[in-house]
């Protein structure tokens, strides 16, 4: 097998490898800025310099030539090589900054050049704390600058597009953003303008950077040049708390991280999953942070007279719900599950009404034909359409929902804005007692007689099945009134969560929503009406499902966590307009 010698260690490799990627895969480090594993390699930042050479082989005998000490002779390449674009070959010798002073010096000098016109405004820069330029300057850079002349000034606060703001002075012209627009989103909206020390990325004068994937350039920008207009100056990254989750704004189920501070989701970034979204996600999914914070249903509410909703206690909500159930036969109920909620929520919800004697809950997919592209935006507007099919909810179209409402006395809707998305009208619900279990205020909750606030994806652990049949799960990222980060081992703790107290003025106890997971609310309701229904955690629901539903056999939260989601052996169902 071909062999390569990196920092005096021997490694074997098979196939085509670039030196940098190979070194990174070994868990070692070489600093770099412009290289990105999912894009082309221009080698233009010059940061990943290594010293490279080749052992000399005698062409006739095939033996390595030895020097007087019996060591193999090395023919060094005449110059330093950029390891990102250096293809490994048999007998190659590479010395990184770890073993070669020359490589170390080359990297240091490159950094000094890159920093000549960089403003060094880290204290006010959003990228600080997660900035490759900052980190690598600490590790490999010069102690100071020898540049004593005035720095070149370039445009600041440029609105490149509706979501991206450019600070051209910070740019090191790695062209990652330009290559992203060329190769990944293929809108070709960016280029590098001007030249020399005056260049920076820009759109054509008649265009704006309205790429539906534009915010990915903010993630891959190795400095603070491209910043998210929404997130600019909102929080320092080291004060936030990062929790893995799933994008719920469409059917693709992009893997994401939720960044919270004081129990507010401040930004959403993609999490690498080669099977689903690689390193990317659509901008729309990032804008969902607002729906986790704002316009939430907090505390149950009940309609007192015609159109007047008023908050009420949980006890009263349970009591009212129970009285309604006791006053009606199961066949007078119209029970609607939803592709907008997780598998666990739908399963527990459906099972509860099954136990009461109602038939399976109905649901209607939320599809906008032609809305998607062939990349990460889908026609399907809901994250869990296949999950509803998996647990055998009754799939129906809009008219199916309408006729179910017409023939019912009580309508119970799980977390689906059926009025807002045009399936029902508020008038359809007017003469029926309508109960909504909802995360956010919507036209449906407004038309409801009883509204039960439930946790959203940012507040519970639950799984979702995407359009390709992959099951992936979320973690609780923000506390509700009834959860506590320090007691719930599933929640991650940021620096402020760990060291802040209620008495510190930089810690805020607000932003906690008064809501419960669906299953917990149904526990209370079941207890009140004497139903044998008890789930302490979504994990218990999932365990029961994996026992009972064939495609879920052998699948657990642990497997989903380890394997970044699990592909289910279900038939790929084309999600179509019902």
């Amino acid at each position: 097998m071909p062999e390569v010698f990196i920092d005096n260690e021997r490694y074997e490799f098979e196939g085509d490898y670039m030196a940098l990627q190979f070194i990174l895969d070994l868990g070692k480090e070489v600093p770099f800025f412009c290289y990105h594993p999912s894009m082309s390699i221009p080698a233009n930042c010059r940061q990943c310099m290594v010293k490279a050479g080749q052992y000399i082989k005698d062409e006739e005998t095939g033996e390595y030539e030895l020097d007087e000490n019996g060591e193999r002779k090395i023919r060094w390449f005449p110059k330093m090589q950029t390891s990102c674009a250096l293809k490994l070959s048999d007998g190659m010798v590479i010395q990184t900054q770890e073993t070669s002073e020359e490589a170390e010096r080359a990297q240091k000098d490159t950094l000094e050049f890159l920093l000549i016109n960089h403003p060094l405004d880290c204290p006010i820069c959003d990228q600080a704390g997660e900035c490759p330029l900052q980190i690598q300057t600490y590790k490999y850079g010069p102690e100071g600058s020898r540049f004593e002349v005035k720095k070149v000034h370039k445009p600041k606060r440029v609105q490149l597009g509706p979501r991206v703001t450019l600070d051209a002075e910070r740019c090191i012209n790695c062209t990652r953003c330009v290559r992203f627009a060329e190769e990944i989103s293929e809108t070709n909206q960016l280029t590098i303008v001007s030249r020399g020390d005056k260049n920076y990325p820009m759109t054509a004068p008649s265009e704006t950077f309205d790429d539906p994937y534009s915010l990915n350039t903010v993630d891959i920008c190795p400095v603070g040049a491209l910043t998210s207009t929404d997130f600019r100056f909102k929080a320092r990254v080291w004060e936030m708390n990062q929790t893995p989750s799933i994008d719920i704004t469409n059917g693709k189920g992009c893997n994401i991280d939720l960044w919270t501070r004081d129990n507010e989701v401040l930004r959403i970034t993609p999490r690498h999953n080669p099977e689903v979204n690689d390193y990317w996600m659509p901008d729309e999914g990032r804008e969902a942070f607002e729906q986790f914070n704002k316009n939430r249903v907090s505390r149950p509410s009940i309609t007192l007279d015609e159109n007047n909703q008023s908050n009420t206690s949980w006890n009263n909500a349970v009591e009212t719900f129970a009285e309604i159930l006791e006053a009606h036969d199961p066949d007078q109920l119209a029970v609607f599950g939803t592709p907008h909620a997780s598998v666990e929520e739908n399963y527990a919800f459906n099972k509860f009404f099954n136990l009461l004697g109602a038939s399976n809950a109905r649901f209607t997919p939320h599809i906008i034909p032609g809305y998607g592209d062939d990349f990460l935006i889908t026609d399907d507007q809901a994250p869990n359409t296949n999950g509803c099919r998996l647990i055998n909810l009754e799939e129906t179209d809009d008219t199916g929902i309408q006729s179910a409402v017409t023939s019912a006395k009580v309508v119970i809707i799980l977390s689906d804005d059926l009025v807002g998305r045009g399936v029902l009208s508020a008038d359809d619900l007017a003469d029926r007692y309508t109960i909504s279990l909802a995360t956010n205020q919507s036209d449906t909750t407004e038309a409801s007689d009883l509204v039960i606030p439930i946790t959203c994806v940012a507040e519970h652990a639950a799984s979702y099945v995407n359009i390709d049949g992959r099951i992936q799960r979320s973690f609780p990222a923000k506390e509700t009134k009834y959860t506590n980060r320090r007691l719930n081992l599933e929640m991650s703790e940021g620096r402020l969560d760990r060291y802040g107290t209620n008495f510190d003025n930089w810690v805020n106890e607000e932003h906690k929503i008064d809501c419960l997971p669906v299953w917990e609310f149904l526990n209370h309701l079941g207890e009140r009406i004497g139903l044998e229904f008890q789930y302490d955690h979504s994990r218990a629901i999932f365990d029961e499902m994996s026992d009972r539903i064939d495609p879920l056999k052998g699948i657990s939260y642990e497997r989903m966590d380890e394997e970044l989601g699990v592909q289910l052996p279900i038939e790929q169902q084309e999600v179509t307009q019902a």
Binding site: N188, T191, R195, T203, S206
Partner: protein
């Protein structure tokens, strides 16, 4: 000028086709086609860049990047004659700034500006590779005027006003003059 009014004539489109045929991709023809456009309009302002991009079926951003890279493409309207005065090292040592300031005084404008009659634009540029004949200037991306003196500059301006462009002159470095004489004999 609005974008609708901008268009290449059939002759120009034919020429662009000939240029495209010389290169493996349309992208590679960007420089030459921008040149065609600049000859036609005298500048490549953003709307002209867009015309080039749309004609070549290339991203507008790409053409913009190329046009902004090269100082020889004029991104603004210029005078009939653009005087690129070199003030890089060799010219500077030999009096490049004297020439530039003399020109500025003569025409009543600063480097980077255009005279009111739209006749002249002065630009201060970096090395044009004629260090042996410093100080020098270039007229509208074309001929060089070499070994400049104030008198020579005055004469040049006078001629240009009459519409007479300087002729191309074959230059020899001073240390080679003797050899040139020998060769010509």
């Amino acid at each position: 000028m609005t974008e609708q009014e901008l268009a290449f004539t059939q002759d120009e489109l034919d020429e662009i086709e000939r240029i495209k045929a010389k290169f493996p991709t349309n992208k590679a023809a960007t420089l030459r086609v921008l040149w065609v456009a600049q000859e036609k309009y005298g500048h490549v302002k953003p709307e002209v860049q867009n015309l080039v991009a749309d004609t070549l079926d290339l991203p507008r951003s790409h053409v913009h990047g190329v046009a902004s890279f090269y100082t020889q493409y004029y991104k603004e309207e210029t005078g009939t004659y653009v005087l690129d005065v070199c003030t890089c090292l060799s010219c500077q040592v030999c009096g490049g700034y004297d020439i530039l300031h003399h020109l500025e005084d003569e025409l009543g404008i600063k480097a980077g500006e255009t005279t009111e009659d739209g006749m002249f634009t002065i630009q201060e540029v970096e090395c044009l590779g004629a260090c042996g004949y410093a100080p020098m200037l270039q007229v509208t991306n074309g001929v060089y005027a070499n070994n400049l003196t104030k008198e020579k500059v005055d004469k040049l301006i006078e001629n240009l006003r009459k519409g007479k462009k300087p002729e191309f002159e074959s230059m020899v470095m001073r240390q080679n003059e003797k050899r040139k004489k020998e060769l010509s004999q």
